[in-house]
């Protein structure tokens, strides 16, 4: 049967079985309900609210673009953006480099690979949880595990989380620590690279480093790109870690005030939900812009094999 025959067959069968369309509709309905009730509806509502003054307890009042104008002069917003960008731009590259490095090590076909893979993946499952954030606060406190470890080395520690100079670094460390999910994707990507390229390179006398830079890396660029986009989006949305570690304040001295945390504070702490909604849309636009830039730049460095 040729492809055309196959298509024709499909079309015929579709025409014959109208009841199946109905069935499909019913099967899709829960998903549609979810999409409208939990995603699109609330998004539309928050878009509307971003043009209002809304204190949660009284009906919202339309104020045009005032919330967006206010962003220009809101110094706390600016400092929260600086914190967020630092967090994203520092933690994502380190996290991906670590993930790639370990994926290459694990790809050597060591014994007990499944075990190691699971162990390294575990933090990704736990990283954004409240429990880990609480643990982090304890580990990096003045009397915490980390300082005790330093004590063995004869280094005197400090309150890593209570010092504005180092508080953000502890959160960056936490994000880097969740390298497991990009690592698993890298592992899958490495398995896709045909062995014949390596064989050919080896025959040509390429050193291991040369094989890595000329075979592995170029063929892995689509995977790197995928991980980069995903992890940037993920990092921009970080909330739980900063919320728990700073007890909701974004402190000390706003050093861990992510924009997500700031919009939460405005909305729920200051009864300022209109502005908070506008901030949520600002975050959306920022993430969309980063993603767009990523896609545009990918033309210049991502190599597709096919």
């Amino acid at each position: 049967m040729t492809a055309t025959d196959e298509l024709r067959g499909l079309r015929d069968s579709r025409a014959k079985s109208k009841p199946q369309n109905k069935a499909a509709f019913w099967f899709l309905l829960p998903w549609f309900l979810g999409l409208f009730a939990v995603t699109l509806g609330p998004m539309a509502a928050s878009l509307y609210l971003s043009f209002t003054k809304y204190n949660l307890l009284q009906p919202p009042e339309f104020i045009g673009f005032a919330n967006f104008e206010r962003m220009l002069t809101d110094e706390r917003l600016h400092s929260s953006l600086a914190v967020t960008f630092t967090y994203v731009l520092v933690s994502v590259p380190i996290q991906l480099a670590l993930a790639l490095g370990l994926a290459i090590l694990l790809d050597r076909g060591i014994r007990g690979l499944a075990f190691y893979r699971s162990v390294f993946y575990l933090p990704s499952l736990l990283g954004a949880s409240v429990a880990i954030a609480v643990l982090w606060r304890t580990v990096f406190g003045t009397d915490g595990l980390f300082n005790e470890g330093l004590g063995f080395l004869g280094i005197e520690g400090r309150g890593w989380i209570s010092d504005p100079e180092t508080a953000l670094s502890t959160l960056i460390t936490l994000n880097v620590w969740t390298f497991g999910s990009p690592m698993v994707i890298f592992l899958a990507g490495l398995r896709q690279i045909p062995a014949m390229y390596y064989e050919a390179a080896a025959v040509d006398g390429a050193s291991p480093l040369r094989r890595f830079t000329s075979v592995t890396l170029p063929l892995l660029t689509p995977i790197i790109f995928f991980n980069l986009v995903l992890q940037i989006i993920h990092a921009f949305q970080s909330f739980t870690q900063a919320f728990i570690v700073s007890s909701g304040t974004g402190g000390p001295v706003d050093s861990t005030l992510f924009i997500s945390l700031y919009l939460y504070q405005r909305g729920f702490g200051n009864f300022d939900m209109g502005y908070a909604s506008a901030l949520a849309w600002l975050l959306l636009v920022i993430i969309a812009a980063f993603t767009a830039i990523n896609f545009w730049a990918s033309k210049y460095w991502v190599y597709y094999d096919d």
Partner: protein, 438 residues
């Protein structure tokens, strides 16, 4: 792969939640839709929410059980959180028209809720809730234009807690709190740090990062944080002076460092540096002495705050309130519950003074003979306090004054902002919030 779909869904999950929550409000025009003020014969379920320590949770649940025993058709579900999380959560439930029936209110938030029509006027519940025994000085602190939107249930006074065990250990006499000044406090704290050889620090940071200490400090100098009309009237020079005073204490070693302060804030009364014997002084409300003594096992005492020119500046603050949500479907039963908690000996036997020295004068008299040592300390302290002028309640819009103070105070103590700039920022930001709510 369509990452932009993913991100929009997740980036806005939080805002989205609110949107879903707010949607019914758009049509129903604000809080309301509560039930009628009559008792029901049917089974009724109420929700009661509060913030506070484990001890409070335990006592409140016991009181709930006693109330349910008296009213078999009413079931009460208690919900409690830590102070900060409590307010975030409460605002959300109100927006969702899913507020608890009875809520514990605070002086800083009371107007933000009542001015926006979120609370029931308890005068309407006169049939179920007796207000006549409440201290006449405290009752008005829950009123707006004659409407009783919240019922003050206890009073609290700012105090210094001191660990007398540490004074004994380092062979120092406790200061005479009827005469001591801010200079004395600084000197004694430093002496403690020095005598202990750095084993302990004399004092925690007892001011400049919370609204209570600002009020006390400015009132000692003839100034108020707010005017009756809600305007911010604090003089920036006084804020500067307060912050510089504490910077001096931190610098000398009399007080803990800013890092230690931040760490301590997250630890709570029972786990903080004062309770664990690492500092000898801390700032508390008089009724927290019970939790503090229980948590530390040490000989904790209460001291009057240091003086300045003998001006009485402390204030009896309505420690907290009970309020009934305007959205409650069972306001009558909710009022009954409040009545039980505030006006009955059965509840007083369980709760004691944990929520403040009771505002119900009869209950207070009933309790005095049977108070245990720490409760008696709290009551004695309140009686020994010479308050200044009545306190101006935190206006609508300014309910975030405490977090604001904490943030700016921390900036100053970490020496990231000068006291002058922080004082200016404090006034500008706070006035901005008040104006925005008008």
């Amino acid at each position: 792969m369509r990452p932009s779909d993913r991100l929009s869904r997740r980036a806005l999950a939080k805002a989205g939640l609110l949107g879903a929550a707010g949607a019914p409000l758009l049509t129903s025009c604000g809080i309301g839709g509560g039930g009628e003020m009559v008792l029901s014969d049917e089974p009724v379920e109420l929700r009661l929410s509060w913030w506070g320590s484990d001890l409070r949770a335990q006592q409140t649940n016991e009181a709930i059980a006693a109330f349910q025993a008296e009213h078999p058709n009413i079931t009460v579900r208690g919900e409690y959180k830590e102070f900060g999380a409590y307010w975030d959560g409460l605002a959300t439930t109100f927006a969702a028209n899913d507020s608890p029936d009875v809520v514990q209110m605070d002086e800083q938030y009371f107007k933000s809720y009542s001015d926006r029509g979120a609370l029931v006027d308890l005068n309407e519940a006169a049939e179920f809730l007796d207000l006549s025994k409440i201290d006449a000085n405290l009752l008005p602190t829950g009123q707006v234009d004659g409407a009783q939107f919240a019922l003050p249930i206890g009073s609290g006074v700012l105090a210094f807690a001191v660990n007398a065990d540490l004074f004994a250990q380092y062979e120092l006499d406790l200061p005479d709190d009827t005469t001591w000044t801010w200079d004395d406090y600084a000197a004694i704290s430093l002496e403690l740090t020095e005598r202990s050889g750095g084993e302990i620090t004399g004092s925690g940071i007892t001011g400049g990062v919370d609204v209570g200490s600002i009020r006390y400090w400015t009132r000692q100098r003839g100034n108020e944080l707010f005017a009756e009309n809600g305007d911010v009237t604090v003089e920036p020079e006084l804020l500067v002076e307060l912050w510089e005073y504490y910077l001096g204490l931190i610098d000398s070693g009399a007080c803990v460092t800013a890092e230690q302060m931040v760490e301590d804030t997250g630890a709570g009364v029972e786990g903080g540096m004062l309770a664990t014997g690492r500092t000898a002084f801390g700032q508390v409300h008089n009724t927290q002495i019970t939790a503090l003594r229980k948590g530390s096992g040490a000989d904790m005492r209460l001291l009057q705050l240091p003086q300045h020119d003998g001006t009485p500046a402390n204030f009896v603050k309505p420690g907290m309130y009970w309020a009934v949500s305007a959205g409650s479907e069972h306001p009558a039963e909710a009022s009954l519950l409040v009545d039980f908690l505030v006006n009955t000996k059965a509840a007083a036997d369980i709760i004691g003074t944990e929520r403040g020295v009771p505002a119900n004068t009869e209950i207070l008299e009933y309790l005095i003979p049977q108070l245990d040592e720490s409760d008696r300390m709290a009551v004695d302290y309140l009686e020994a306090t010479v308050p200044g002028d009545p306190l101006v309640v935190v206006p609508n819009g300014a309910s975030n004054v405490n977090p604001l103070m904490t943030r700016l105070g921390q900036e100053v103590y970490f020496e990231e902002t000068s006291p002058e700039d922080a004082a200016e920022a404090f006034i500008t930001e706070l006035q901005g919030e008040v104006d925005a709510a008008k």
